[in-house]
Symmetry: C2
Subunit: 85 residues, 2 copies
């Protein structure tokens, strides 16, 4: 799963904290990891409480099988700052 | 293909312009679309000329088959501003 958010500055810290509870932080506003649909629903519900739905957005890409998704990083790779899952 | 960049402000406009030549812009720094490996190599080469590799990054997720990748958008969806491909 890849999660990307586009959130106004003032709400970004809360969203970052929430997403890091569920996923690995790989870039500024990009996270990856695996989670069940139940956990994902919980994450989305929590995210909606932070978001202004008129202005912010959250995009989730789900691959049915990890082996079907290749990742290529160009430039600086963010250190893995720990996945709390 | 999903492309996400994390670029310093002063270089962001150039990168946005480059990526929009190849892909659909779906969120702040997120693009999606399909492209051949040859085109992708060209895109990466052009991107590297814009990027400061010590500071900026570009992540590309490739799914071998589009049907294996589901997309879910929560909140505001960016209008499709046109794909120049």
């Amino acid at each position: 799963m890849i999660l990307v958010y586009d959130i106004e500055e003032k709400r970004v810290a809360k969203m970052l904290k929430l997403c890091r509870r569920y996923l690995n932080w790989i870039q500024n506003s990009v996270f990856e990891g695996e989670m069940t649909n139940v956990k994902l629903k919980t994450l989305i519900q929590e995210a909606l409480q932070i978001m202004d739905e008129e202005k912010d957005s959250l995009i989730i890409f789900k691959s049915r099988d990890e082996k079907w998704l290749d990742k290529q990083v160009v430039g600086k790779e963010k250190n893995d700052l720990g996945n709390l899952l």
